[in-house]
């Protein structure tokens, strides 16, 4: 069972308290009704599914109930870092590349 750090609770808690919520940093258009079919396809269906670093959303479901973002390596399953919802994609990742 993974330990995940909730950036709101500022604590590492067991995976059981959390729920994955898909890829992060996919913004919903402010003009949703006016999106083209292609743009909607990109927004709704297309996901990066990388081998390696993924930016994804988690919810501290059985804790503070907040959604937040996490950077995880899909190969090692290691969490690189977590940060609050709405914060920008981190430009530097701690410990990556070592």
């Amino acid at each position: 069972m993974l330990l995940i750090r909730c950036p709101y609770c500022e604590e590492e808690r067991p995976e059981l308290e959390f729920r994955n919520a898909g890829e992060a940093h996919i913004a919903r258009s402010a003009n949703m009704a006016g999106e083209t079919d292609d743009d909607f396809e990109k927004f709704f269906f297309i996901r990066s599914n990388p081998k390696g670093i993924i930016y994804e959303r988690w919810r501290h479901m059985h804790g503070c109930a907040r959604f937040f973002n996490a950077v995880r390596d899909t190969v090692t399953d290691k969490f690189i870092m977590t940060y609050k919802a709405g914060e920008p994609k981190p430009s530097k990742l701690p410990g990556v590349g070592k």
Partner: protein
């Protein structure tokens, strides 16, 4: 005397403590402290089972968890029958009842052994080549006959009456393995004061010190030192010592699963005692001290009972005081077998000869064996053995060919060397590295905060092991923030040292098709099978493994993997590291379902949710159905009524007078805040801004893809306050969906969401008399049609307690939903029930609720929709705000395929014969005479007998359904085609006049 092969002067068990046991109905005597295996061997019993595929007679190979052969059934009573228990692990208790497995009619005469003669038919890949066709053979031959003939134990056929427990634990340093290395590491860590857990799978700590008679530590015999050290550890407050505890899985972030066998070794386990305890340990540092496992020699008929690992024979002698034979032979490519021969010889057992495959090895143990007068043959191989149910002789030949000599023996001790136990290290995702010099895979690159010490790290010799382990324990503690250790490192006074062995098949186990030189005993895989797999095109070791099943039995190839790999590498002509090792997976040894499941079974498997009114329904004799975790009253049968009679009566009562229905399970969410209406606009298709406080609206929630996600009636209590209802099953996901959008997409909105499902009990009162029933109990609410019109909500009091009174209907009748704080739910229900009795009202359950809403064509999300249905498909376009600029699903709904013609639309269906009730899920076709497979144009989503309509009614999703009104379609069923007519969705009171009736 506890067995003719017991040597009173040897071993550590007290002869005074006799324990009787039975094996295959025969009674024997053992000693407390024995394993079942040692007790059988003490009685001269080697034959304990039949093999998986060929039904070959099998004996005891090992003295530990790696045992592939000696699997038995242990029976305590009719329900407590455990198959595939390793006799080498099962501790003896007085009265133990064991049975051999996979034989009929008896262990010594087994009909299935015909497989051994027919073995050319069952060679590698047999299943893949055979279980193909004809299709019919699956039912008649493959499953019932061939598969039944294979296999090991029989599953218990009664529910498990035992209980299991489960604990979480945290520690600084977790030490896995309680041999010399593990104990030293635990001592070093514990002396710094950090929290330490030390676990070992055996009943007693000591590991290989159990048999290493040459080890002396701190002036004591090695095993005695181990006991003293563990006693010292157990007495420390910061240390937890777990014996009989196997670390079976190493998971992410130093999370380790252990199973403690709490009572399997007890004669009469107390009823309050768990059978096993699952430990889930999170450790800051893990020290792996899992030791090494001895490999057998791969030679012809090396599976005959009486042929066993040399280290095992030594354990039986030095720990249990049991000689495995009276006249033993030794076949080895490794020094450690000499130590076994020496110990047996000194105990008075005749050692007929040592056959050593190596040419001219030298060393102290070889000298000592020679000095004891034991015959030693270098450069020779055992090419044949005599005996079937028990080995009787070994035939020896120079390994490069030459004259044969047959030596009578009653046991053969073998050793091809020791394999470091890297299972847990590999499970931690560490990468092993091949040491070319010692021909061993040892821990290479670490993936987690752990360290390997001793034999599992490829460290040879007791001194080096203790040095390494003590330092590692101290370092691990230091890494967790500990200060320097106060203790002193154990001092090795004497130890044994062995040189390495061999991998792969020995000479004489050649390509000859009749030779069975076993690599994997448990899955009956021979050296020939592995060569054949390579010849048939398997190149990857993972393919060789699956084709031959080598290493895939419950012992997970503990003795066989390295041999299999070496034979494959040799056949492929590649070096071993290039061929690579197969993946080690959890569990290390089999784990019972009981230990994993623990208390989470039966009623405790999943939480049960009950409404405030549940006790009343129960007292009325309601039949309940499960809806998610909820128990809902399904129907209320009266004396002599079956389900149909009860449901018909309930449905009629609602339309004739009134009915009471417990709707408490409906999901309820309060949406509050200055931006509550804006938020509702975005989350639901409907317009909300202009909904007046005190009014209600039926809302539809979509996913972003435009499909219906949930629905429910929403009441606006105040400009900034909505009381939202959801489907019973959808409540948690709707809440999650709302929170997701509020927190991440619309965080600028000032809104609070609160789940109030459990706070409000809901009593639906529906029917022409509903107002008459409620009105006398209500204070502060104008109950007239003008004061409380259909689709409105008021706050006031009922029976003196606060209520949110909704005027709404899911039946098509005049209806109310009385929300009261859950604590008052049953009292208010009883008061309403008493009023209802004056009017002839009935309580109705979920089945009647379903029928009544279907009569009106009201949909149930999840029954009439399936995640691919749009509001338009469901005929709910009227509920979509046409002027809205945005809501979740607005764009998805407009995708080309979702607005295309010919989509499945929800319609009503009437059978031509009104008495026929369609099956829900039944497929609908246009032409019943077309060839199979027919083109299906839709399916039935809801179908009931409607007593109110006097006929069957159904809803269905049909392609282009709304353009087919009045058309005849067909529902082909196994016993005939049913003719149906497409209709509108409302079957009762089409004008809706009864809402105010």
């Amino acid at each position: 005397m506890s067995g003719a092969f017991r040597i009173p002067s040897a071993g550590r068990l007290s002869q005074a403590k006799t324990a009787r046991f039975s094996f295959d109905g025969q009674s024997y005597a053992g000693i407390e402290g024995d394993t079942l295996a040692s007790a059988l061997l003490a009685n001269g019993v080697h034959l304990v089972g039949r093999s998986f595929k060929y039904h070959r007679p099998r004996g005891i190979l090992s003295a530990g968890a790696e045992e592939p052969n000696a699997l038995v059934e242990i029976k305590r009573d009719a329900a407590r029958k455990t198959p595939n228990v390793r006799a080498t692990v099962q501790e003896l208790y007085d009265g133990l009842d064991a049975q051999s497995q996979n034989r009929w009619p008896s262990l010594s005469f087994d009909v299935g052994a015909v497989n051994d003669i027919a073995s050319p038919l069952f060679s590698a890949g047999f299943y893949y080549k055979t279980f193909m066709w004809p299709k019919a053979a699956w039912k008649s031959l493959y499953e019932p006959k061939i598969r039944a003939a294979a296999g090991l134990g029989v599953s218990p056929d009664k529910p498990d009456p035992d209980h299991y427990s489960s604990r979480y634990a945290h520690c600084d340093v977790l030490v896995l393995g309680g041999g010399a290395a593990g104990i030293a590491a635990a001592l070093a860590a514990a002396e710094t004061g950090v929290r330490v857990i030390l676990a070992d799978e055996q009943a007693e700590f000591g590991g290989s010190l159990r048999f290493e008679s040459g080890a002396k530590i701190d002036g004591q015999d090695g095993f005695a030192w181990a006991q003293a050290a563990v006693a010292k550890l157990a007495a420390m407050d910061n240390v937890r010592v777990l014996s009989r505890t196997t670390a079976f899985g190493y998971y992410a972030q130093n999370f380790v699963g252990l199973v403690e066998r709490v009572s399997d070794h007890l004669k009469t386990p107390g009823r309050d005692l768990a059978r096993e305890r699952l430990w889930q340990v999170r450790a800051k540092r893990v020290v792996l001290a899992s030791g090494a496992i001895e490999r057998h020699m791969v030679f012809a008929d090396n599976d005959r009972p009486g042929i066993m690992l040399a280290g095992a024979a030594r354990t039986y002698l030095n720990h249990y005081g049991v000689a495995v034979g009276k006249n033993v032979g030794v076949y080895t490519a490794n020094d450690s077998a000499y130590a076994a021969a020496i110990d047996l010889k000194k105990a008075g057992v005749n050692v007929a000869a040592i056959v050593d495959l190596r040419d001219n090895p030298t060393g102290p143990v070889i000298d000592e064996a020679r000095a004891l007068g034991i015959e030693i043959n270098f450069g020779r191989a055992v090419i044949r053995v005599g005996g079937k149910l028990r080995v009787s002789s070994m035939t020896v030949q120079p390994k490069n060919g030459g004259g044969e000599r047959t030596i009578p023996v009653d046991a053969i001790l073998m050793s091809a060397g020791w394999t470091p136990s890297v299972h847990l290290f590999s499970q931690s995702r560490g990468k092993v590295a091949f040491n070319d010099e010692t021909k061993r895979f040892v821990p290479g690159t670490y993936a987690q905060d752990c360290v390997s010490v001793g034999a599992c790290n490829g460290t040879d010799g007791l001194s080096a092991t203790l040095d390494e382990a003590y330092a590692a324990g101290a370092n691990a503690a230091k890494d967790t923030g500990a200060k320097t250790a106060k203790g002193t490192k154990p001092k090795v006074d004497a130890s044994e040292s062995w040189s390495r062995g061999m991998l792969g098949a020995a000479p004489g186990a050649g390509a000859d098709t009749t030779v069975k030189a076993f690599v994997d005993f448990q899955n009956d895989v021979t050296a020939k099978d592995i060569r054949q797999a390579v010849h048939e095109g398997m190149r990857s070791i993972e393919h060789v493994k699956r084709f031959t099943t080598n290493g895939m039995a419950t012992d997970q190839g503990k003795t066989s993997n390295m041999h299999g790999l070496a034979i494959a590498a040799e056949t492929l002509g590649k070096p071993i590291p290039e061929v690579g090792l197969t993946t080690f997976r959890a569990p290390y040894t089999p784990v019972t379902f009981g230990a994993i499941v623990s208390h989470a079974r039966g009623p405790l498997f999943d939480p049960t949710r009950k409404t405030a009114i549940h006790p009343w329904a129960e007292a009325q004799g309601a039949v309940f159905e499960d809806v998610g975790q909820w128990k809902r009253a399904w129907y209320f049968p009266r004396a002599g009524e079956d389900m149909h009679a009860a449901v018909d009566r309930e449905c009629v009562a609602v339309r004739k007078t009134a009915g009471l229905f417990d709707a408490s399970t409906l999901g309820k969410i309060e949406v509050v805040g200055p931006d509550a209406a804006k938020f509702m606009e975005l989350l639901y298709t409907n317009p909300w801004e202009k909904l007046e406080p005190g009014r209600c609206r039926y809302g539809i929630m979509l996913r972003e893809d435009g499909f219906i996600y949930d629905d429910g009636v929403v009441g606006r209590l105040a400009p900034d306050r909505f009381h939202v209802t959801t489907t019973t099953g959808g409540a948690p996901r709707v809440m999650n969906h709302m929170e997701d959008y509020l927190q991440t997409e619309f965080p600028h909105l000032n809104v609070w969401l609160t789940s109030i499902t459990e706070q409000w009990a809901v009593i639906a009162v529906q029917g022409p008399k509903s107002r008459d029933i409620i009105a006398p109990l209500v204070e502060g609410i104008d109950m007239s049609d003008a004061g409380l019109p259909h689709m409105s909500v008021r706050e006031g009091k009922i029976c003196g307690v606060p209520t949110r009174l909704f005027r709404m209907s899911f039946t098509g009748e005049r209806g109310f939903e009385v929300n009261v704080p859950a604590d008052y739910g049953q009292a208010v229900w009883e008061a309403l029930w008493a009023e209802g009795q004056k009017h002839g009202a009935a309580a109705y359950g979920t089945e009647a609720m379903h029928v009544l809403r279907a009569e009106k064509g009201y949909i149930i999300v999840g029954q009439d929709t399936d995640g691919t249905v749009t509001p338009n498909d469901a005929g709910l376009d009227w509920a979509v705000g046409k002027k809205k600029a945005d809501f979740v699903g607005i764009r998805g709904m407009a995708r080309p395929d979702l607005v295309a013609k010919g989509r499945k639309q929800l319609v009503g269906i009437k059978t031509r014969d009104p008495k026929v009730v369609l099956e829900e899920g039944a497929q609908i076709v246009e032409d019943p005479k077309q060839a199979i497979p027919m083109k299906m144009i839709g399916h039935v989503t809801s179908s009931y007998w409607s007593e109110n309509c006097g006929r069957s009614i159904a809803l269905a999703l049909v392609a282009g359904g709304r353009d087919r009104m009045g058309d005849t379609l067909y529902v082909p069923m196994p016993n005939g085609v049913i003719e149906v007519e497409v209709t509108g969705m409302v079957f009762f009171d089409e004008t809706g006049g009864r809402l105010n009736g």
